[in-house]
Symmetry: D4
Subunit: 251 residues, 8 copies
Amino acid sequence: MENLLQQVKKGEVTIDEAVEKLRHLPYEDLGFARIDHHRQLRQGFPEVIYCPGKTNEQIVKIFSALAAKGNNVLATRAEEDTFEAIAQTGKFPAARYEKQARAIVLKQNELSPSKTVLPIVTAGTADLPVAYEAKVTAEIMGQRTELISDVGVAGLHRLLAHVPKLQEANVIIVIAGMEGALASVVGGLVSCPVIAVPTSVGYGASFEGLSALLTMLNSCSSGVTVVNIDNGFSAAVTATLINKKIETRTD
Amino acid sequence: MENLLQQVKKGEVTIDEAVEKLRHLPYEDLGFARIDHHRQLRQGFPEVIYCPGKTNEQIVKIFSALAAKGNNVLATRAEEDTFEAIAQTGKFPAARYEKQARAIVLKQNELSPSKTVLPIVTAGTADLPVAYEAKVTAEIMGQRTELISDVGVAGLHRLLAHVPKLQEANVIIVIAGMEGALASVVGGLVSCPVIAVPTSVGYGASFEGLSALLTMLNSCSSGVTVVNIDNGFSAAVTATLINKKIETRTD
Amino acid sequence: MENLLQQVKKGEVTIDEAVEKLRHLPYEDLGFARIDHHRQLRQGFPEVIYCPGKTNEQIVKIFSALAAKGNNVLATRAEEDTFEAIAQTGKFPAARYEKQARAIVLKQNELSPSKTVLPIVTAGTADLPVAYEAKVTAEIMGQRTELISDVGVAGLHRLLAHVPKLQEANVIIVIAGMEGALASVVGGLVSCPVIAVPTSVGYGASFEGLSALLTMLNSCSSGVTVVNIDNGFSAAVTATLINKKIETRTD
Amino acid sequence: MENLLQQVKKGEVTIDEAVEKLRHLPYEDLGFARIDHHRQLRQGFPEVIYCPGKTNEQIVKIFSALAAKGNNVLATRAEEDTFEAIAQTGKFPAARYEKQARAIVLKQNELSPSKTVLPIVTAGTADLPVAYEAKVTAEIMGQRTELISDVGVAGLHRLLAHVPKLQEANVIIVIAGMEGALASVVGGLVSCPVIAVPTSVGYGASFEGLSALLTMLNSCSSGVTVVNIDNGFSAAVTATLINKKIETRTD
Amino acid sequence: MENLLQQVKKGEVTIDEAVEKLRHLPYEDLGFARIDHHRQLRQGFPEVIYCPGKTNEQIVKIFSALAAKGNNVLATRAEEDTFEAIAQTGKFPAARYEKQARAIVLKQNELSPSKTVLPIVTAGTADLPVAYEAKVTAEIMGQRTELISDVGVAGLHRLLAHVPKLQEANVIIVIAGMEGALASVVGGLVSCPVIAVPTSVGYGASFEGLSALLTMLNSCSSGVTVVNIDNGFSAAVTATLINKKIETRTD
Amino acid sequence: MENLLQQVKKGEVTIDEAVEKLRHLPYEDLGFARIDHHRQLRQGFPEVIYCPGKTNEQIVKIFSALAAKGNNVLATRAEEDTFEAIAQTGKFPAARYEKQARAIVLKQNELSPSKTVLPIVTAGTADLPVAYEAKVTAEIMGQRTELISDVGVAGLHRLLAHVPKLQEANVIIVIAGMEGALASVVGGLVSCPVIAVPTSVGYGASFEGLSALLTMLNSCSSGVTVVNIDNGFSAAVTATLINKKIETRTD
Amino acid sequence: MENLLQQVKKGEVTIDEAVEKLRHLPYEDLGFARIDHHRQLRQGFPEVIYCPGKTNEQIVKIFSALAAKGNNVLATRAEEDTFEAIAQTGKFPAARYEKQARAIVLKQNELSPSKTVLPIVTAGTADLPVAYEAKVTAEIMGQRTELISDVGVAGLHRLLAHVPKLQEANVIIVIAGMEGALASVVGGLVSCPVIAVPTSVGYGASFEGLSALLTMLNSCSSGVTVVNIDNGFSAAVTATLINKKIETRTD
Amino acid sequence: MENLLQQVKKGEVTIDEAVEKLRHLPYEDLGFARIDHHRQLRQGFPEVIYCPGKTNEQIVKIFSALAAKGNNVLATRAEEDTFEAIAQTGKFPAARYEKQARAIVLKQNELSPSKTVLPIVTAGTADLPVAYEAKVTAEIMGQRTELISDVGVAGLHRLLAHVPKLQEANVIIVIAGMEGALASVVGGLVSCPVIAVPTSVGYGASFEGLSALLTMLNSCSSGVTVVNIDNGFSAAVTATLINKKIETRTD
């Protein structure tokens, strides 16, 4: 919107054009949803549908509107029957369901793969669904990833074997439930930012991820920042943005 | 009490003696407090006064009643002016104030020192007051200790240097605030019980120790048990009881 | 790992051997899980699979990898269909499902039974599943147990009848939901450590075990330490470690 | 008010009288406070001023308005300087400050003492201020009391010695902080109602009385009801109401 | 137990008899449960089984053991299939299932009905299951009740019409979810104790009864005490105990 | 009730009439529910049934009693089978089920439509069920509405396009889950009251609407007030009351 | 900002003017604060300074910048020494400190008083500071108010006497701490919106206003909306906005 | 440590050297603290002392040990008297106290300034202390910053004026208390990572920063990650690490 105002000031756009653009261009109104097609341009990532709370019918409509522009489309936290509803339209033969990640992926633009590899580290096997959500998200944005799972702090030697690899990364995603201590330990071993994802894995006093969340927020390792419980998607977007900034730097 | 019933059954004690003993012996009534002298016998540790919420006048009376029996006496969470009130009675020249531990110590019986040494490990310097409370408590029960401070998980190598020593212990006390991850890491490196003490060190989302408490309760390292926030006293009592059980085993 | 460094220093292991061992030996990589076979040696207990959040397929693979080494294997919080998936492999005829404990047990090494008996005390009948988890865990480690159930504080005489037995123990597990007061009462009657397990038994203001957890953490009986809500497993491991330390003491 | 409607219906009161009474009689308007003089008649207890949040100036005015009717007056949670402000008026020579109870007491009507004695039981010495608030409140209502302090569950024999006395009571007040287990234990030993008062005594996971509150609410002893943290006043009012109902029964 | 000690002191019971009684009489050991038959004598109410967390098999065994003594038996929070399991034994033709109260009732002793009537007041229709639990509980103890439902504070006139009836009661049960304000309003209108039962009725910020619970604990009406969320049982026991004390007073 | 007292004072109503009216008129007693027919008169809105916690049988009876007076009837949070139970009575052919709003609507009086339009703004598509509850509620009270959905703060331009329309409103309803920031942003752009409805949309640290609730309560935009999580009904009633006050002003 | 775009579209403002205005006009940059002078125009109320967290030096600068435009200025939650710092500048002789409201008031424009009177109702005397904040806020916006204090639900007749007056209002502010039940009771007696302000008055389970906040959010009286704990300011702004909408309606 | 193992493997370091280095080099033991000098090398930032919970005496010792190595030193959350204690040693004439940031800064190495500028954006004036902590931290690491304060969402135009500048940044720090909505709004306007810092600014339902924390964690703007409440330090370290990665990329 501000860009528009700048264009107006420079005379590149007339008033009427500007006002019309401002009101009508930025999104497509489906009645129950407003599709924001130019976000892909702005942030370099696919349009994303967060599925919970939406009916399959709504999701199919949003998915169709997004796909019609030729963008990559990612639907997160998707049930398998939602994918079937999309498949039954027959319009998206390239769409696939990533069961472990609970995601629907439609790749219409192949992005050139990143130079760097993003490590996605999990404390336990039960954290894998969140890790796969992160993996799928990063990859649809062109970010290569490496999954290092089940290296929680109760068996420190499992983690230490991967330290050289971690020290080469620009940014690392650490995913852990229960006590969530892995983020601090990784943060103390590397010199790059660590994005910590608490998971709802655990029981009793884990309070559905609250324990891991608090642990990560209180990390005394510098460079650790935190996203919502189970939010592999947001961690992957942030990590990919950082890597893109590094790889696309133009001096 | 049950012992008494057994003595009655064996005929070692008459009925009237038993009933009288049961009602009158086990404690001394100060009006506002009931002093339980035979606990020292039962659990092998000093009578302890938890000071908060008691007036100096009350503490002096309880302290005097306890000391009169010749037991060791420990007053925890004591303000310096409470010690001065005790000192001013002139009756306990051997009593001393341990400032770092916020404790008043009166040693009237010298216990033979334990064979084993109890490691008391802290994540940071700010956890020291809790560590000193644990140290003073263990030592008045005859338990030798070694304080290993400031070895939090953000600098793992500081901890690893102490692993051989930790692996020799029968039981370890780990004290940490903020994210409290140290207990899990230590628990994963040793094969003895770890008693974890969360501290109120931290700010914001540490919620005055809640974060460290939850972390420790959710530890995925086996053998970790937890006491109340800042409760160095209880950790030390438990650790000493375990060591005593080991050292006093009679086959 | 430190042991390895010590061996290196003493010249018992060459550099190349050490580095290789450090990287490759300590665990077996199944892709989604890393199996830590030498933990059994280190802590003297079976490899354990915590089942929630893992697929049956994953559990079968981990179980197989663990069992292949000849260790005892324990799978906790296991659904009956998980046991059936394991049974259908036909490879573990000795594996059995402990329904009350929700555990799968595979005993491949018979450990000599402990001299001491570990009392497992519950406040109510509804606490039994947690007690059985503790019992199965202790027994696969060779620890003999005695279950004393339904002796909650609302009927104190039921508890008092067991006091002589409790006073002979080296360590006691106390399991209680609702108000969780039993741990304090037991702690005041004995002179050994008490490991308190809050349970999620209750409703309303029990907040799924939070009430019992807080009660136990605030116990004014010395020697009481606490594990996570419903964590019978960890209580049993800790208690068994303590008993092993006592029984294996070598002067 | 309903009584008034009944009087109207019976013709004992005219309409105009009733409406006027309803609007003007029931309270006296001080501008910032409305004094409800007939509550003493209705519930048989003194007018009470809860002091926190009121200025000394406001308290003096309310106190004066209440005292002017000849009722007994009780000001709870009163600072000593509030009492001095009242004393300086020179109008209430009979008013006294109960320091331990933090209460100002003005007895203008001597009530005949109750036949029964109300036991007020505390777990620890630090619970005494709440116990004294209860004691002062009961006594200004004519209820005789007996304070049994420092009989917490960590030393059960101290409590058991008082059981015969407790079993004779119509209703008992139990006051405890920290884990608050005393109410359940007492409730299991007697057959009368127990009014449980959690206190803010404790630290860490006591969360300023929350732990004791939850314990008491989850009591599995029947007949235990609970009041707000530190609310000795309300417990005493309720207990006295029960005793009055019993003693004043007219068949 | 104390009674026993008194009998011993008076010579009415020999030592051996006392010790044996103390150990064996007070309860019957079913292995998983300990049945406390003399509680009915002690508190004048039926043995009660709280069903959640117990298997039908366990409940049938406990029910049978209790019924065998000829006592009245009440099983609360019982599913209908539990009742069917009991019915299928064919041993308790008099047992009935109270669906609205979710209770199984076996009346073997007809108690003479109380003189007084206990008002059970609810704020809304959705609070009825808790009210019926209270009603069934009171009635099996011989307490007559009157249910006054749906008189919440949003329509105050519905409550005011019942004030004369409420003012005649010795004690009142008030049951409310959502904001739980009804207890305070009733408490301000009467001069007898009010037992407040918060319910889990509501949504969002009711946090499953927490809101109503806090409201009731903070009541500024004197004489209001509180039980656990949805605990109609305990409210009824307490109210009945109070009424019994009043009706059975012997001068 | 007060109106009645005023009528009595003016002599328009006799005593006996007043007392009788006060007791019998204001509601109809169905046993389990008390129907308050004159509320429609008092507040100008339909009688409303909040369905959760009521049986279909109860709802049908209440619905029938309300409808019998000729009022409009609204049943909120209604399951489809509840509507079917009502439909099967055959008595309310005009009743319809609003699936998106989870409401049963029976319009028996057509209210003249409001002059003003009430904007109902949602942050996301998943907030729609709450928005539809608000819409149905407002419309049965004669309030015209406009739904503006999916204009959350992550894409600010979608909201800005609607600002002129929002600035014309007398009052606005803003509905948002997750971080709930939309209410503050709207509140800063307009000069009318904003009624904020937090929703339970979200996961993890949204804690079922708590996050959005706290955000809205802490809004630094003046004029924002808040209702319970997911309470579209109450927001609509309040907004409609405000609009009615404006439109019905009589100078 | 949108208005500006509309003016641009209509040709009333040139592009360059618009862009310049948009960037520079709307606020004045003090370095640490940005002053928004046109808010007064937009919402018809004074610029307001929320004092906590700002230094006196900062407040004096902001106050001066605001006052320089001739607007009315209100500083809330102001300490007395902040007022003195403002007074010492000698520039604002008309500024006064409202001690009970903790507010600094500078009236430079006399607004014509509202026709309607806004009732501000409090449950207790301790709620007065919040009520005075509301009163001062409303009055500087030209809204006449009437304070009705100390009419909490424990003495319902005190409230009922004011019902006729309340029923005449367009909107009512209800302020209550502790159980906060007053808002529901008032909401049930009137047919206008009620703005409920929970206060931090109370102790123990009031959790510094949380109890009253939850009560008010769960109100089953329609038309009740809620603001932050102790936020008399926001309640007054909202109520005044509603009254202004009504009084300034132009047909 | 791993680096060391790699050097050993390559033969660059002998065994004895490695083991000695591992044990003795990495830190300096002050008894109560372990100084980790090589962290500066590892992460490129100064040694940092978090002051709360440490005595001035301890801080002076740690500060001296750190400064002796010639590194830059930063002491955060430092009271002014701590700075005076450092100043009185006379050893650090270059040390200065940054009052607004509550930090002690000793710059011994001048780092070349970053090419990019880091925007530090605050919602209100009261958030400035946290912003200054971030600013001081970034600057001692060579990161240039620009502080944009008081642009909260209640006056959106203040923020929009800075959008062009924000869109040029590689990473942005957003600091907000109360409802914390600013991070989501900024996150939706830019295509770089946003590091969100909730602050404890606010009152009532802000629960000392919890509200802002939850808001930020639930942000529906991608690319937003969160640190602990008031943790300007960690946000600045992370942002600077990201910028360094970008500026130091070597292809």
